[in-house]
């Protein structure tokens, strides 16, 4: 089966239709776009570097995806769409991917874009210094360049997740001549990026703003529409909200606006809001159980904890309504790809507390004289106050089933060392981004090969399930989507049954924007993609 993915005119048309019916565009009037203007977006916190090819911090791509481009972008169904690659074919065995590149593309320094840049960006930069490289590009053996407009990827094994991980925020295409013979991290272009994107780097006034200027020689005809983008850094949350309310800033994504302020902003007539644009960065809050502890080695205890938690309460009172209860290790954003299922053991049943108490009895932990069955520690996530609130709630919730939970809050370094190096914890409450594919963001928390002492945010639970290992390994190579989905459904059922952790809430990010700003969210990548078509009403 040679799967040609050259997008037909019809496909382009249908994706355009899809984009127009998206809720974010619903209020966009039929007026013709206006050229010019300066868009001010809030980025929080200020990035420490713009070396997006080597650092995976989430506050870098909103700036760098205006400058760098990827081989692909994605439509609302996370299907690959052309970007620097105008078409591609995947061989029948899934081991060879041939990209035809866009012609007439130049970097901001005037160099023409060719397949040599693609080869260099993948083999020398992404594979060597990108923190996600070892996962996304594990199977990539070489990139051949038969001619300047063709790049052939040779894989050791099929890698179905690769095609959803090629956007600018995953693997930016850099200019070979800028990097050749230098240390990537010390390269002068780390903080003065040179890309092919619609905006060129202007200046970075540390602590204040980054200015991006229109790329007059951009390869997409007539674009971009904006003259300039200013990324502003405002450390105080109340000031950020005020900047949007006064019209000083046009756009704020992720948690730049306090959840408690969002309702007020939504009532503001000059502001709009959307929950779109987070299709590949969905985040889930979870609990991790240290299964090395004798109490937590018992499945009944872990399940009882899962039953004891009212996830809707957390959504309503701690996330201020911006989220929904999670059902298992895969986020429901994977529904579009068919990987998600809610046909698993459900912990949100009406008699959940009775079940939980019964499980604790069965596990051999009767209530003592003071009603307490066992005492456990909860390690408070040090990335913000909401986690302390969640901990305070969990203490109450677990108290209902006789678990006396003690909260321990330490600084970030101590917390990470305790949970991922020393393994001296009972329950941890981290927060994970799912990634564009389960291979990228989910596997490492559950497969036994990811029990790596000292590596943060991997399988610290000591969860070892031969079945889950086998299913996830198979899903890594399976290229038929329906069969892959079956593997993930089975893995979810097993993991929820085993409950190596508790899956709490899928966080719903909200973008707040000024209604003068049009056409800003037209891809699932949202602020992780370029504002090339965005324009400002006068």
């Amino acid at each position: 089966m040679t799967e040609s993915m050259r997008p037909s005119r019809r496909a382009l048309l249908s994706s355009a239709v899809l984009a127009t019916v998206g809720p974010a565009q619903a209020q966009a009037p039929a007026r013709a776009p206006v050229r010019g203007g300066t868009m001010v977006m809030i980025v929080n916190p200020e990035p420490s570097t713009l070396a997006t090819y080597a650092v995976s911090a989430g506050n870098i791509p909103p700036v760098t995806t205006q400058i760098y481009e990827g081989l692909l972008t994605y439509d609302w169904e996370i299907r690959p769409q052309p970007m620097l690659a105008k078409s591609w074919t995947v061989s029948e065995d899934g081991k060879t991917i041939t990209f035809q590149l866009q012609e007439g593309v130049t970097f901001h320094n005037g160099q023409p874009f060719t397949s040599a840049d693609v080869q260099y960006s993948f083999m020398e930069i992404a594979k060597k210094v990108n923190p996600n490289g070892p996962v996304i590009l594990a199977e990539l053996q070489s990139v051949d360049t038969p001619d300047p407009m063709t790049a052939v990827f040779n894989l050791a094994n099929p890698a179905p997740y690769l095609m959803v991980s090629l956007s600018a925020n995953n693997i930016p295409i850099v200019c070979k001549s800028v990097f050749e013979g230098t240390q990537p991290l010390q390269n002068p272009s780390a903080n003065r990026p040179v890309g092919t994107g619609p905006f060129k780097f202007g200046e970075w006034n540390r602590g204040q703003f980054i200015r991006l200027d229109r790329n007059e020689r951009y390869w997409k005809p007539g674009l971009p529409l904006l003259n300039r983008i200013i990324a502003r850094f405002i450390p105080d949350a109340a000031t950020r909200s005020a900047a949007l309310e006064t019209g000083e800033a046009h756009y704020a994504a992720y948690s730049a606006v306090n959840a408690a302020d969002i309702r007020r902003m939504q009532a503001n007539p000059i502001l709009g809001s959307t929950t779109q644009g987070y299709g590949t960065t969905a985040a889930t809050s979870v609990l991790e159980f240290n299964m090395r502890r004798p109490n937590l080695a018992k499945k009944e205890v872990r399940q009882a904890i899962c039953y004891a938690i009212d996830r809707q309460f957390i959504v309503d009172n701690i996330l201020h309504g911006f989220g929904k209860p999670a059902t298992g290790p895969l986020s429901s954003v994977f529904t579009t790809q068919g990987f998600y299922t809610d046909q698993v053991r459900r912990f949100d049943v009406p008699d959940r507390l009775e079940i939980a108490n019964r499980l604790m009895d069965e596990a051999g932990f009767p209530r003592g004289a003071n009603g307490v069955r066992m005492s456990l520690f909860l390690e408070i996530n040090s990335f913000g106050e909401q986690w302390l609130r969640q901990g305070e709630y969990l203490k109450q919730a677990l108290g209902q089933i006789g678990i006396n939970l003690t909260l321990r809050s330490e600084d970030t370094a101590t917390w990470l060392r305790r949970c991922y190096t020393d393994y001296d914890f009972d329950i941890n409450e981290p927060f994970y981004s799912a990634g564009a594919d389960p291979v990228v963001g989910v596997h490492r928390h559950y497969v036994s090969s990811a029990i790596r002492r000292g590596t943060t945010f991997v399988n610290n639970k000591d969860y070892r399930s031969p079945d889950v290992d086998r299913l996830m390994d198979a899903a890594t190579r399976e290229i038929v989507p329906a069969r892959r989905a079956e593997l993930y459904h089975e893995a979810q059922r097993i993991m929820v049954e085993d409950s190596p952790g508790a899956w709490l809430c899928e966080v719903q990010y909200v973008t707040i924007f000024n209604k003068k700003l049009q056409n800003h969210t037209n891809r699932p990548l949202g602020t992780y993609s370029a504002f090339d078509r965005a324009w400002l009403e006068r």
Binding site: N258, E385, L388, R389, L407
Partner: protein, 275 residues
């Protein structure tokens, strides 16, 4: 001492302060009976304004603000008193040694004291709590560590001043031992100043504790006024009562302790007796 109490009672403001402190103490004793579920219990709907059922309203998680204020009083008093006591003992020992021994000991101890005085107290307290990891004990240790230098300098000054007086020289001449000189003659004579300054330390210790808890550096398992304000801050524009009542509690408690401290100072300070 009896005459001192009488003088204290003549100071209306100090009496008022003492009454408020008594009420706060009564509140901490009654808290377990008034709010048997505890301050962290989720007792009602979130962000309810003050009502007959919840006198001071509920916070963002549906916890009773009144229960938090009552339990927070216990935390504040416990930490305030313990830290002030610790600072007084530590300060008196160091200041006493310096003032009694003089010479090299004095120089070394006073340079150490000055070293601590030059470091911003709140930053040092934050650093200590982070290093020791937040708990009631680490907060007490941190506040003690930043509060003792004032007491040390005071005690040293008193010892030096008293050390040259005739009655001290006379008892030394009669062969009184060092400990006897310190505990029978020197210390009792500067006790009134220590009490007056120590009582004011309780107020600063409570403020320090509140500040630490506000920044999330308090013991997460213990309710405190700082924690309440910090948790209520995000919903301040929607629910004023979550921050306001603990804030009033801090204001009243600290003000009362200051009034009592001033009253004690006036009552016990011989130089102010004739006023």
């Amino acid at each position: 001492m009896g005459a001192g109490l009488k003088r204290f009672a003549r100071n209306r403001m100090a009496l008022l302060g003492a009454c408020v402190i008594l009420i706060v103490v009564a509140l901490t004793i009654m808290a377990p009976f008034l709010f048997p579920a505890g301050a962290f219990a989720l007792v009602g709907p979130a962000l309810q304004p003050p009502s007959a059922r919840f006198w001071l309203g509920t916070d963002a998680l549906g916890r009773d603000v009144a229960a938090g204020v009552a339990e927070g009083a216990r935390t504040s008093l416990l930490i305030g008193m313990s830290a002030a006591m610790g600072a007084v003992v530590l300060g008196a020992v160091i200041g006493g040694l310096a003032g009694y021994c003089r010479g090299a000991v004095d120089i070394v101890l006073m340079r150490i004291t000055e070293f601590f005085q030059t470091i911003p107290a709140f930053l040092l307290a934050m650093l200590l709590v982070v290093i020791l990891s937040p708990s009631v004990l680490s907060v007490i240790i941190a506040i003690t560590a930043v509060s003792w230098p004032g007491i040390a300098r005071l005690v040293r000054g008193e010892f030096v001043a008293l050390g040259g007086r005739e009655f001290i020289l006379a008892s030394a001449g009669l062969g009184a031992s060092g400990p006897r000189l310190v505990f029978v003659h020197l210390l009792p004579n500067c006790l009134s100043s220590i009490i007056a300054v120590g009582s004011l330390l309780v107020a600063t210790a409570i403020l320090l504790e509140t500040g630490l808890a506000f920044l999330g550096l308090g013991d997460p398992n213990v309710m405190s006024w700082g924690l309440q304000i910090s948790a209520g801050r995000v919903s301040l524009r929607a629910a004023w009562w979550v921050c306001t009542f603990p804030g009033i509690a801090i204001l009243l408690t600290v003000l009362s302790i200051n009034l009592v401290g001033d009253g004690l100072n006036e009552a016990l300070n011989p130089r102010l007796r004739e006023r």
